[in-house]
């Protein structure tokens, strides 16, 4: 029995890819929105598995840390807190169907173009993507490209995120004049003299 060396990666690829597609389907098919988000998380984890198979372990871990560990937690929060009426949500399905189909068709066409380019011109992917040097780990390779060749784009992306963050703060910050606020410095600076007032209370007289 002779097994090709690609057997094990192939098995894992189909496992991760199949799970990913199945979970993605359950995200839109699930009746309970919290279950949908949990399936979305599983889909992310499977996608991370696919990244590991591609040899992009840094991307895989970042996908889990950022998307699963932070973004999906916020999703889950919102979905758990909101009181979603499922029956009402389902009524509008037919109305949005044409738009959904259009988006789906565009995605399909783009995917076919990518796969088509790959089949028709096998040399093309090599010309676009620089292969990872074998002497250094892919984290280091990514760092070298990101901080040398693309450093301005990287900084620009950071700036965009900063603007988004400041925008969110500006939109949600409300100054309520009547709310009492804590001043930590004041609290820490309190001493026995400022905080306590010791008095001798005479019996029968009070203060």
């Amino acid at each position: 029995m002779i097994l090709p060396a690609t057997l094990l990666p192939a098995v894992f690829f189909y496992l991760f890819a199949g799970m990913c597609v199945a979970c993605a389907f359950m995200v839109i098919a699930g009746r309970n929105t919290v279950h949908s988000v949990l399936y979305l998380i599983l889909a992310f984890v499977n996608a991370a598995g696919l990244f590991v198979l591609l040899g992009a372990e840094f991307l895989a871990m970042i996908l889990i840390v950022v998307y699963v560990g932070a973004v999906a937690v916020l999703f889950l929060f919102v979905v758990m807190m909101l009181d979603v009426d499922f029956a009402e949500l389902r009524q509008g399905v037919l109305q949005y169907l044409p738009v959904g189909v259009l988006v789906g068709v565009i995605f399909l066409a783009e995917l076919l173009m990518v796969v088509g380019a790959w089949v028709i011109a096998p040399g093309m992917p090599q010309s676009i993507s620089a292969p990872t040097p074998t002497t250094i780990s892919n984290t280091e390779a990514l760092g070298r490209v990101l901080y040398t060749q693309y450093v301005y784009y990287f900084q620009a992306a950071g700036l965009v995120l900063l603007v988004a963050m400041i925008g969110a703060i500006v939109l949600t910050l409300r100054h309520k004049p009547k709310v009492k606020r804590q001043n930590i410095a004041d609290q820490v600076a309190r001493t026995k003299e400022t905080a306590m007032d010791v008095r001798q209370v005479k019996s029968g007289q009070g203060l």
Binding site: M1, I2, L3, A5, L8, N32, V34, H35, L38, I41, E57, F58, M61, I62, I64, V65, V68, G69, A70, V73, L76, F77, M80, I136, S137, N138, T139, E140, Q182, I184
Partner: protein
Amino acid sequence: MLEFWTSYLWPLIVIVAQSLLLLVILLVSIAYVLLADRKIWAAVQLRRGPNVVGPWGLLQSFADLLKFVFKEPVIPAGSNKGVFLLAPLVTCTLALGAWAVIPVNAGWMIADINVGVLYIFAISSLMVYGIIMAGWASNSKYAFLSAVRSAAQMVSYEVSIGFVIITVLLCAGTLKLSGIVAAQDTRFGMFGWYWLPLLPMFVIFYVSALAETNRPPFDLVEAETELVAGFMVEYGSSPYMMFMLGEYVAIATMCAMGTILFLGGWLPPFPVAPFTWVPGVIWFVLKALFMFFLFAMAKAVVPRYRYDQLMRLGWKVFLPISLAMVVIVAAVLQFGGLAPKG
């Protein structure tokens, strides 16, 4: 057939055997870590702690285990059954999974992956799901409030832990856990480990690790005076035990991380004769136990934080300090000519 044996079956058997060995050792150690936790706590309060089962109470954890396993698991009627039962499994599996990459001695780990630190970080960021799922699926107010608190707490302190890890990575120049330990192997012995040059970060790491594992004084998730038992309030028997196990394994992971990042992993305190005779794994265990002793003492002597104080500490104290430290460390390494050669 021979090829199939040498290239697939034999490596599979080896890795399964290694994993089982690691799991058994880890679980037995956790049983005694739990006992140590209770004993230290008791000693601080001038009590004896568990002392009935076995000599000096040494078998207490196993008695507890049997009690949990033989009890009837109760699933609340209004709960979401699947998610309710999945939550403890998720917590326990993730916590144990982190140990696959932790090197307890030179070359002693299941997998020495290139992104070991990130893997542990990713696993610890996933740990929050066990708690959120439990809180939501229990269909109980206390459990849900606790889940909300916990999620906010863990996400907040992950930020500062992330920055602490980044400073260590800057100094070590590698994401491999074994590489980080190797980078601390200098002729200064224990004074070359990162706890001394990065002392503020070590303190931040320790406090954030307490918050990340929901240990006192940051155990607001399980604050019994306000939330009964928090997200575990509806759980009993084996599912409860799995939460408890997951929590203690996560604590052990954090101790191991502290050991690797700041205390030189398996390195002896001084690179001279009598210290170098002792096997590395013993140094590793001793250092991890020291970290755990710090955890246990914090539980015994520090009163619980208020929730807003917790959030303030995370976002307004630790985040600016750790951000500044990342910049300072990077600048010192770059302009002091100390940067690791990549």
